[in-house]
């Protein structure tokens, strides 16, 4: 099993090191064999929208910060963690394994969301 991570914008490679080393692998876009499904989550007004999403395994979720205050996307279980996203910056993560992935903004912890992978 492997988890593919697509990193958008200026996210440094170091982000990948924060993932579980045994399960994570960084690929440059376009090397995947099939085009995975993609889902967008917008960060607006200090909230994730939609706050809960349900997706099939293999889907890539991309978060975009549309606030003029920086936010982060951090898994409660430290499975994924974005760098600090300033206005219009994005973070993507591909969920390959079914399960429930609660996450939050580590700067504004009242901001919470959840990805359910079927």
């Amino acid at each position: 099993m492997r988890i593919r991570v697509y990193i958008a914008g200026l996210v440094p490679l170091a982000t990948a090191l924060l993932l579980g080393a045994s399960q994570a692998k960084v690929e440059s876009a376009g090397t995947g064999q099939t085009q995975p499904a993609a889902v967008e989550v917008k960060i607006d007004n200090f909230s994730f929208g939609p706050a809960t999403i349900t997706i099939p395994a293999g889907t890539t979720v991309t978060w975009t910060n549309r606030d003029d205050i920086p936010h982060t996307v951090v898994s409660d279980d430290k499975i994924f963690k974005s760098k600090v996203l300033d206005i219009d910056e994005k973070f993507s993560y591909t969920f390959s394994k079914p399960g429930s992935y609660p996450y939050f903004c580590s700067i504004h912890p009242k901001m919470t969301g959840k990805v359910v992978v079927q």
């Binding site: 007004n45 200090f46 909230s47 606030d67 003029d68 205050i69 920086p70 409660d76 760098k83 600090v84 300033d86 206005i87 609660p102 996450y103 939050f104 580590s106 700067i107 504004h108 912890p109 009242k110 919470t112």
Partner: protein
Amino acid sequence: MTKTKDEILYDHHHDGIDRRGFLKCMAWAGTGALCVMQGGVLKSYALNRAGDPALPAAAKSELSFVQISDSHMGFNKPANPDVAGTLKAAVDKINALSSPPEFLLHTGDISHLSKPAEFDTVDQILKATGKETFFVPGEHDVLEDDGKQFLERYAKNSKGAGWYSFDQKGVHFVGLVNVMNLKAGGLGTLGHDQLEWLEGDVKHLKSSTPIVVFAHIPLWTVYPQWGWGTEDSALALGYLKKFGSVTVLNGHIHQTMQKVEGNVTFHTAASTAFPQPAPGKAEAPGPMKVPAEQLRSVLGITDVNYVRGHHALAVVDSTLA
């Protein structure tokens, strides 16, 4: 006691919490108000146009210092495209005070994105005060590196994530850090190590010692829905119960507010960068855009004076307008 037009008198001896007086203080905060507690009575005075409080026996203070907060250097969005300019205006205001402060406290969010150049700019601007500044970090100052850069720059001799204490003219100052290791769904956090340190730090002080605690996120629950509070602040305040005068100075919410609870006066300072909405008055606590000509009237500095023999420190907010 007589009651004059610009004065609120309210007795705290019985319930300890004065919601009415608190709300009145809040209503005045935008235009500048002085709230001072003497002998268990909260007095609030509106400021005149020159920004001077209409105090009967104006302070022959023994210790005067200024709190500034939330300079957010690096922020450049419409709510304030020139945060360096407004920080300079705050410095001009400080330099023009009739009783010069001994030092400054900065209650965090020095930078917007923890970038070295942002910290450098603030340091450069604050130099013009010629005063020492004591800092505690805001969440914007400890992005990415667990606060290592903040510690290196501003808190070399501190404990843990940057907490410390010092004494000035008989007043004990405690700088606390409540922006690290925040948990999903939670508020600000002090954490076990810091609380243990605080207990030991104040244990041997005389109960007559005036205490000033400063930290970024409010140490009282202003509005938990927006994260405006600190999970374990009650434990910290528990260690300060024996003291006759405790003044808590916070930032984070970009507006002035004051509350008195028993012997503790809580106060939040305005930002020098941009205002945020009153609790619950907007969908989210983001930067609030006001007409450009009004911006400086919602930014400000806080001047604090200690007069020996008085029950509490006098806290005066003034805007940058």
